[in-house]
């Protein structure tokens, strides 16, 4: 049988458990071997089927309430008093901050909606059987593919010395504005990078904290050279921040 040595490591490769050098070697082999690429696709399909089939049982609201009532309001390690004071003070500060901010409640809702839409795009794309329209880890392939498809251009970073790899990209839309949706991989995590013209939304400078926490995603956004970038994914906030740094440097802005 051909490629036996590669195939014995296929699952470890798909589990993201090979070293970055081995991963690169595997990626290169996949591009040149139809047999291994086909088997990889089949196993990936199997992984996704198990993921879909595995999410099967949901607790009742009543049971959740019961467990929560057993564990709630039991502060840790005897710092309850101080904790409550800090929490109360934080709430007051938050309330004051909200009151004096120029943004009204409606705008906050718009911001939440914006990030929710991006989260939906992220999830729906990853659930798709063909998440990207241009499949390449080469930024010099992915970037030109967008020519003529979106009304702006952008620069992508060199990833050779990082753990991130580019999987590809697709055209996407937010509030009827076309933009670029890039998907990066970090170990087992797939992370979306959205790039839109800076005017895509009036709420583009919003702090996404509330939405991010509700959706359990980490996200980071910024404006640069007339473009608005937003990264969203289930990787750790440090990983998301690192990718943001790479993109900022790639586009000529010092990472903060």
């Amino acid at each position: 049988m051909v490629c036996e040595a590669w195939k014995t490591q296929l699952d470890t490769y798909l589990d993201g458990e090979l070293s970055s050098e081995q991963m690169h070697a595997f990626d290169a082999h996949m591009r040149s071997c139809a047999s291994c690429a086909t088997e990889t696709l089949a196993r990936l399909q199997m992984k996704r089927s198990i993921q879909a089939a595995g999410k099967r049982f949901v607790p009742s609201a009543e049971f959740r309430r019961r467990v929560r009532s057993c564990i709630e309001a039991k502060p840790r390690r005897g710092v309850a008093g101080l904790g409550w004071i800090i929490a109360t003070a934080t709430l007051i500060l938050l309330a004051v901050g909200l009151a004096i901010t120029s943004r009204g409640r409606q705008q906050v809702r718009q911001e939440q909606q914006l990030y929710s839409e991006l989260a939906d795009l992220h999830v729906a794309t990853l659930a798709s059987l063909s998440p990207v329209d241009v499949v390449s880890s080469d930024r010099h392939t992915v970037k030109p593919w967008f020519q003529g498809k979106i009304p702006f251009t952008f620069d992508l970073p060199e990833l050779e010395n990082s753990e991130f790899s580019l999987l590809g990209g697709r055209v996407t839309y937010l509030e009827q504005t076309p933009g670029a949706h890039l998907i990066y991989k970090l170990r087992k995590h797939e992370i979306s990078v959205f790039i839109f013209p800076a005017g895509v939304s009036r709420s583009k400078k919003a702090e996404p904290s509330a939405v991010a926490k509700n959706l359990s995603f980490n996200l980071e956004s910024w404006s640069q050279d007339g473009l608005w970038y937003c990264i969203i994914g289930d990787a750790s906030r440090a990983d998301v921040h690192e990718l943001a740094g790479l993109l900022k440097r790639g586009a000529g802005l010092p990472a903060s």
Binding site: M1, E4, K7, T8, L10, D11, T12, D15, G16, E17, E39, A42, R43, Q45, M46, K47, S49, I50, Q51, A52, A53, G54, K55, R56, F57, V58, P59, F63, R64, R66, V67, R68, C70, I71, E72, A73, K74, P75, R76, R77, G83, R187, K188, E207, P208, S209, A212, K213, S216, F217, N218, L219, E220, S221, W222, S236, R237, V240, H241, A244
Partner: protein, 174 residues
């Protein structure tokens, strides 16, 4: 600006543990295959974890810690004891994984898109293989995290996982 994430030193048990509630419940149900036992198992897990929270080391893996408590609680339950007594793990240190055969069940799967068949096949796996498959594929734990959860070496995780995949493939091929 980046957001979310937790600093275990400043979080209460509830803030850390409740976000894991749905996934722990789902995992528990896969282990017990019974709603009442699942609820008992999850409730006992949360009670034990709360009691032992002072011994949890901030900065270490809270998720693996919770799963380990759940799993140990399950293993000492009547269903858990019964389930583990019927499984043989003798061959799990038996060398590297073999490449799958040409006739892959994945192909069948893609054609039929029948996820219910996958559920039945996972249900049919002995509990030791069912749990490791779900920890890897559904919970997306790393091998190291699974090793920590199951209290076994990483090498055992790899061989047992490989065997679980082969067993699942065999069941889907039937």
């Amino acid at each position: 600006m980046y957001v979310s994430g937790t600093d275990p030193r400043s979080d209460t048990f509830e803030e850390l543990a409740m976000p894991l509630f749905d996934q722990l419940y789902n995992f528990a149900y896969w282990l017990t295959q019974n709603r009442e036992e699942t609820e008992d198992l999850v409730q006992e897990t949360y009670a034990k974890a709360l009691k032992g929270f002072s011994s949890f080391q901030p900065g270490t893996n809270f998720r693996a810690w919770m799963y380990r408590i759940l799993r140990n609680t399950f293993l000492t339950s009547r269903t858990g004891l019964k389930a583990t007594m019927t499984v043989s793990l003798d061959a799990e240190e038996g060398g590297p994984a073999l490449a799958s055969e040409r006739e892959t069940p994945e192909t069948v799967l893609m054609e039929r898109s029948d996820w219910q068949r996958v559920q039945t096949a996972i249900d049919d796996l002995p509990v030791a293989f069912r749990e490791i498959l779900l920890l890897c594929e559904l919970e997306e734990m790393s091998y190291r995290e699974i090793a920590e959860t199951l209290s076994v070496p990483v090498g055992t995780v790899m061989s047992r996982l490989s065997r679980a995949r082969r067993m699942l493939a065999e069941r889907l091929r039937r």
